[in-house]
Symmetry: C2
Subunit: 525 residues, 2 copies
């Protein structure tokens, strides 16, 4: 079966054989995708000319209602999404839930919070700016939805959530979306878009999907458009330096690589609840989605004297996590997404081994349960340990995108902050400590180079949301290596899809323009 | 005389003969500049390691006090800045005042509004985000000053204001600055930095200046740094696509080319006050600083039936503006900044003439008052007229950076909006009309592609701040061709120099972190 593209308000099959999608457990061919011969310039123009105006005619609340309907349409097909997640990603129930239920929850969340913007159609920011003594001439800052399209170039690891976490705020903002899912796992995103189109929720042009290569899509981006990319830093650099993107200063939002850290506080010695809690969290992070989350803990920073004890604790827990075909109910850890990712993981792991010691796993030819070694794409969960701190290189620079983490010894608070910052910009760091003085120092020491810092003490041990969990009410993104983009954070997500400008003029004219506006203060409430 | 660089806390002469600066009226050599042999990597590191921490130890109010002292030091040397403006830019008194007094005013403005942030050292954004039922675990968004340096690569047309409008918010934010003024007019910026250093206001490393080529400066930018550039779109694209900038996702703020528009409303017929007011504004824009402002009106959109009448009105006013050596008190219009800019203007003008009619000026060999045609760099103020609207090309794409403007006929409201948007993203558009219905349609029709929209009706005719005037309380910047950056807009300018992150943790820990914070709502008040 070849999946059609949905562009210019209709389903269109690409030409040629296209690209094949596989089952990473069995190696079976599933479906194919092709964008060859699709008029992408026309697709973008249709989105801008038809989808945009129709969406912007609605108020924020009316668009929130559309999101609610989308969430309902998706929830109705949840079982099918789990089925495709198993087939195309080798996802366990937990893995599929993380992606699919996360997607539906995020859509519902924006449907709910979007209502706070009521019948507004534009945003007004701050007070009138006095510009004349008589106060008849003044300034007012506004934010209005951009008149372009939002192009999403998404990552393979979250075909459901990665689509919805971008689609929800864009549509709420009144901006039509054009989705280009990562080819290897495009099927699930495709099916979700199909269900949304079938349910006839959105006006024509408000949603499009292109599967397979993005081809000349970026050639046709315009000043009004937004390109939001999640994936590797290399591809991010290619997008950012694309001549048309540069020439038109197309707004680009990037979420790229991230060597996330978890920190065991100096007070969290062996035998404490936090020591055990972090060991458990590390194992969860390594195994959920086989470690293929952009937020996964890659480095665990441990006081030097507890390096061995902590390694033992994590290894003990890892040994009970069965790896193999998720169709077997005993299995807790699935494969990585395909052979290419498997090779990439093994290459990265080989680099890490050059400077770190393997504490657990690391066997290239280990035998997954109920799966053929040759046909499947498994990576054995592997824990490493580095005593070299800042002098190590690969552990701070190579993101092995699989079930792999490295313990890194630290000696002092200063050393800890320097080692954490050596990640050169990350999505998240977490700090497990009951020492308020320690966290008060550490958080500002690393916050500017992270999008999110999770602090866990004994009081919140039973209720914290987790190192790797992205919640729609909080910022997701990070500077530097992580790409510098910002996503979610509640209604702040609308900022990406709006344009700020100031009107200087007679106050009665400004009052007239302000009539359909709600205050941007609501974005931060 | 060769001007030294100020880096790593000391004055250092560059090697070699360096680059010469000239008087654009007499052609005389003035001073030379060289950055050859200067260790720019060390300069940046000194700023980060010494200047940053010392600035961030202070509160916002304490840094506002530093700005006040800088403003005083600059005000004390105002006459000298006028002298250098005349020598190196051929500036009339009005031209020099626009740059120099604008600079001092902006510095004072930030000193004043910065005090609103009181004793804070970090910003807290929005309310606690609930993340658990018991409310003991929650999220809080913060913005903290970046721990890098702010690198300013500035334009030749505003050596004083361009420096201060960036320096004020960066220093207020606690971020050390490294200034690279445009070579042809670096002298004035250099002198201002010299006066600030002499006055011993800032801690070591908080301010640096590099004159002449930026050399390998961008190679050494880091994740924590900000590069803020004002200049051509071509150079902007080179900065944005620089391998190190891409690889580290260095935050870049760009203000580039802009084909700004002024719109004569269909109600503003010949004989009305607004007709005359816009004619006057166009002449002011064309002649002030010889049209070398990024905000200068380049296109005047006029109802087709009044194209001739409006051209006559502007031409009549232009004929009284004497052009030449500003040392002659009769002269109202000075030269462009150098021979290279003169050539560039004449080339652009030749393109415009291919599709537009010359109504006034346009003589390559016109005789400026008290100046030698061969040695000086004058461009005759030139008004053109295009009947082709959207079918024209150059008038919408070429920014002739001198005393040149083109009238463009429009036929309907829809046509007007399309023609204005054809600028592909601009800093500013202004609308001269008393028809509230017209402005209510036009402003949202163009606002998303502009940073600022000025509306002038008869009531505010005597008090509006002007098309080309950038006031520090309002946004300066624009999307698309204008580069997509944002500057000024009051305390919003601090956003560029802060990093947003969210802390998820126990509420008591969050309360502890919030102690030194002020609310971001203050940025918009």
């Amino acid at each position: 079966m070849k999946l059609p593209n949905y562009v210019s308000g209709r389903w269109s099959l690409g030409q040629g054989a296209g690209e094949l999608l596989f089952d990473p457990v069995t190696g079976d061919e599933l479906v194919s995708i092709s964008s060859q011969g699709i008029d992408l310039e026309a697709a973008l123009q249709f989105a801008r000319a038809r989808g945009g105006p129709a969406l912007r005619e609605l108020s924020y609340t009316q668009r929130a209602d559309l999101l609610e309907k989308i969430a309902e349409a998706l929830a109705a097909n949840r079982e099918e999404y789990f089925r495709l997640s198993l087939l195309n990603l080798g996802a366990t129930q937990a893995d599929a839930s993380f992606d699919v239920d996360g997607a539906i929850y995020t859509m519902k969340y924006y449907a709910k919070i979007g209502r706070a913007l009521a019948e507004g159609k534009m945003l007004k920011e701050g007070a009138l700016v006095p510009l004349s003594k008589s106060n008849t001439f003044a300034g007012q800052h506004f934010l209005m939805p951009t008149k372009g399209a939002a192009v999403f170039i998404n990552a393979f690891n979250f075909p459901a959530w990665g689509f919805c976490e971008k689609a929800a705020p864009a549509l709420l903002a009144g901006v039509p979306i054009v989705v280009k899912p990562a080819s290897p796992t495009a099927w699930l995103t495709h099916r979700m878009v199909e269900d949304i189109v079938k349910a006839d929720i959105l006006p024509p042009g408000a949603i499009s999907i292109i599967c397979d290569s993005a081809r000349d899509l970026l050639e046709h981006a315009r000043e009004e458009d937004i390109v939001s990319f999640t994936g590797s830093g290399d591809t991010a650099a290619r997008i950012r330096s694309h001549a048309n993107i540069l020439g038109r200063s197309v707004r680009v939002n990037i979420e790229a690589d991230s060597i996330n850290s978890a920190i065991l506080g100096p007070d969290s010695s062996p035998g404490t609840d936090l020591f055990d809690l972090l060991a458990k969290e590390v194992v969860r992070e390594m195994t959920l989605k086989a470690g293929q989350k952009c937020t996964t803990i890659r480095r665990v920073l441990v006081p030097r004297q507890w390096l061995k004890a902590f390694g033992d604790a994590v290894s003990a827990r890892l040994s009970s996590m069965k790896v193999g075909n998720p169709r077997n109910p005993e299995v807790k850890v699935g494969p990585v997404v395909n052979k290419a990712q498997q090779s990439s993981c093994l290459e990265g792991l080989a680099k890490l081994r050059e400077e770190s010691e393997v504490l657990f796993g690391g066997n290239k030819n280990f035998q997954p349960i109920d799966a053929d070694l040759e046909k499947s794409s498994f990576v054995e969960p592997t824990l490493l340990s580095s005593k070299n701190g800042l002098r190590a290189k690969y552990v701070h620079d190579i993101e092995v995108f699989g079930p792999v983490a490295t313990l890194v010894a630290y000696d002092s608070r200063e050393d800890l902050i320097a080692v954490t910052r050596r990640g050169l910009g990350s999505l998240v760091a977490s700090v497990f400590s009951n020492d308020l003085d320690f966290t008060r120092d550490t958080v500002p020491g690393i916050g500017d180079l992270h999008g999110r810092v999770l602090v866990v003490d004994s009081n919140v041990a039973g209720q914290h949301t987790g190192h790797g969990n992205v919640v729609p009410s909080c910022l997701h993104g990070g500077p530097g290596r992580a790409g510098g983009g910002e996503e979610l954070a509640g209604l702040r997500a609308l900022l990406l899809y709006h344009r700020r400008f100031v009107v200087q003029g007679p106050v009665n004219g400004i009052a007239e323009l302000s009539k359909s506006c709600v205050d941007t203060a609501l974005l931060y409430s």
